[in-house]
């Protein structure tokens, strides 16, 4: 620390410790999370807009009954496939139902189906990926062979097995989507871990006796965050769209109820005659993905120590 004497004439005057600590603290104030987010807001407006968009989506889902006069299952066979008009902002679907209403009600299912499995498979995939990449040897082979099996099993068959054993609720949709997605995440995170495992600072940490689990948590995991955010945002749309193929097997949302994936698939054959049936939910999914993507990027820039080096 900073003791020690000056030139001979001032040997006795050893500055007291508090003053130094106070001075040192000016060097780089510890940035609380709130401050970091504040800084993100100023520097990255897109992330703020995305957070707002996500909030709007959630509010839309929650207050759907208030926002639209129509019921989302009420069919009007006289008014099928009507183009967007004053009465129906986004037009009506093949059953004459109001698409805006179904979009709002559908967002309840699709937002959950998009985010929850993506999150679960991210957590499961990252944990197993880092463990297998870092541990190597037997654990690595076991986890990777399990991943190979999960990647190889036809997902439709897996979905049906889950439905007929555990029932057709939304929870089982999440379970199926997670089981299908985690293997991909695990393999990519494992490749990141292999790369990070040999960097100087990880070997340094190992040399001074840091326990394996701490190294994984403190050194490897933070450096996987950027890739994790990318994988998370990529899994959201694929989960939303796969949900509709599960519904055809009887798992999860059934026909008159609405979800974005179901709406797009139902609109498939009308793509040339009534394109809004596909484009409206398609754009909704894209807006959701863009929002999570920009928010993810924004969070990464703030949280990642690399990025904000002066």
């Amino acid at each position: 620390m900073f003791q020690g004497k000056h030139s001979d004439s001032r040997i006795q005057k050893i500055p007291d410790a508090e003053q130094d600590i106070r001075l040192l603290s000016q060097l780089g104030e510890e940035q609380t999370l709130g401050k970091k987010l504040g800084r993100m807001a100023k520097e990255n407006p897109l992330a703020v807009i995305s957070a707002a968009v996500i909030l709007v989506l959630i509010l839309g889902a929650v207050f759907a009954p208030v926002l639209t006069p129509y019921s989302y299952t009420g069919m009007d066979l006289r008014n099928r496939l009507a183009a967007p008009s004053a009465a129906h902002l986004f037009g009506t679907d093949e059953g004459g139902r109001d698409i805006l209403t179904r979009l709002l009600y559908g967002s309840r299912i699709s937002l959950l189906t998009g985010v929850v499995p993506a999150l679960l498979s991210l957590v499961l995939g990252t944990a197993l990926g880092i463990l297998s990449g870092f541990a190597g040897g037997k654990t690595d082979s076991l986890i990777m062979r399990l991943a190979d099996i999960m990647l190889a099993i036809p997902s439709m068959l897996l979905a049906m097995v889950i439905m007929y054993t555990l029932g057709g609720g939304l929870g089982n949709v999440f379970l199926t989507l997670t089981l299908v997605n985690w293997a991909g995440v695990a393999r990519i995170i494992r490749s990141e871990t292999l790369k990070l495992k040999n960097t100087e600072y990880v070997e340094a940490a190992r040399v001074i006796g840091v326990s394996k689990s701490r190294i994984m948590l403190r050194h490897i995991l933070p450096n996987c965050v950027p890739t994790m955010i990318v994988l998370f945002t990529l899994n959201i749309p694929s989960s939303i769209l796969t949900e509709s193929s599960l519904s055809f097997l009887g798992l999860g949302v059934q026909a008159p109820d609405a979800s974005w994936g179901l709406m797009i698939n139902a609109g498939r054959q009308y793509l040339y005659t009534a394109p809004w049936l596909c484009f409206v939910p398609g754009i909704a999914i894209m807006v959701t993905v863009l929002a999570f993507n920009f928010l993810g990027d924004g969070l990464r820039d703030v949280l990642d120590p690399h990025q904000n080096r002066e």
Binding site: K5, H6, S7, L23, L27, E43
Partner: protein
């Protein structure tokens, strides 16, 4: 007057940040005469590396040069297009970076990384490239150069990596070489070899700019020295005057901190206080807070560089013009 390899006049580098603009390089002017080794010394964060990066045009975004001129052998670097600057880097001016452990591409063989410079700037036939690299390796003191050629960076020691980086910097005989803390990361024995090697690099039509916080390195290598503090040059003089008669309080403080075998002080002295953060620099002399005889004039009014002797300038109100 011998011609200068490098001339920097009133260089300003500005970094916009959340707390307003900071300027790590503030009105810096310096010369590297041909055949000479010039040093910049100062505590870390005083802007010496930033000055070197400014010369190479490698300032990280969002920083940018706002004022000043940088002339290399008479060519103003700030007017060059990106393409011209690229053809200049590595052939006319090259830089040895600070951290040998991470300055080499981990997935490329050492030999290939050096060969790349030749491939970029010369039209030496492919067959001869390997031999040229092996020759330069031997010149920088790398043992078993053929084997090292095929090694990857993680298979080399710190000293060897630094020698590869030096080989990379000198292989095209650049007119100016910049060494940013060349020996900081090395142990003392290897440090001496590297310093001797760099001494021989300088020939009569090339220049060497050495950046270090280690006065020992500066003393061994440099002919002329600039002392920097908080983005500004506070004192400049030839090496002997600087060590014999340091005039700026900060330079004196540095000299005391080094301690020398001549004086038997058990405890090395330090300069009280801490380098002020660039965001809130005092209006006057940035060293005033830590200066023993700092007066309020020092605080309010920025002293200019006063010529106190032949080739010796000091930025301090207490100094008197030479001859007064």
């Amino acid at each position: 007057m011998e011609h200068n390899i490098l001339e920097i006049d009133h260089l300003h580098v500005v970094f916009p940040s959340s707390k307003g603009e900071t300027s790590p390089v503030n009105d810096v002017s310096l010369r590297v005469p041909a055949g000479k080794t010039v040093g910049i010394v100062g505590e870390s964060g005083c802007g010496k590396s930033m000055t070197a990066r400014a010369v190479m045009g490698l300032i990280h975004a969002p920083g940018r040069i706002t004022e000043g001129e940088i002339r290399l052998c008479g060519r103003d670097l700030r007017k060059l297009s990106e393409k011209e600057y690229c053809s200049l880097r590595g052939s006319e001016v090259s830089m040895i970076f600070q951290e040998p452990m991470t300055s080499l591409n981990p997935v490329m063989k050492a030999g290939h990384q050096v060969e790349e410079v030749l491939r970029l700037h010369t039209d030496i036939p492919e067959s001869e490239l390997k031999q040229r690299v092996i020759d330069i390796f031997r010149a920088v003191g790398i043992t078993e150069p053929e084997k090292r050629y095929n090694c990857y960076p993680h298979e080399l020691s710190g000293g060897l990596r630094q020698r590869v980086i030096i080989a990379m910097a000198m292989i095209c005989r650049p007119r100016l070489m910049i060494a940013d803390e060349p020996t900081t990361a090395l142990d003392v024995t290897v440090q001496a070899q590297i310093l001797r090697l760099m001494k021989d690099l300088v020939s009569d039509d090339t220049g060497l700019l050495v950046i270090s916080h280690d006065l020992g390195v500066i003393a061994k290598l440099c002919d002329y020295v600039y002392v920097m503090y908080a983005g500004r040059i506070v004192e400049e003089s030839d090496i002997f005057t600087l060590f014999d008669d340091p005039q700026h309080p900060y330079t004196k403080g540095l000299m005391d901190a080094v301690g020398s075998l001549r004086r038997d002080a058990e405890v090395l002295s330090t300069i009280p206080g801490v380098v002020p953060s660039l965001a809130h620099l005092p209006a006057g002399c940035s060293f005033c807070l830590r200066c023993e005889n700092g007066s309020d004039r020092c605080e309010k009014e920025l002293p200019g560089l006063i010529q106190t002797g032949p080739g010796h300038k000091v930025r301090c109100h207490l100094m008197k013009e030479a001859g007064q």
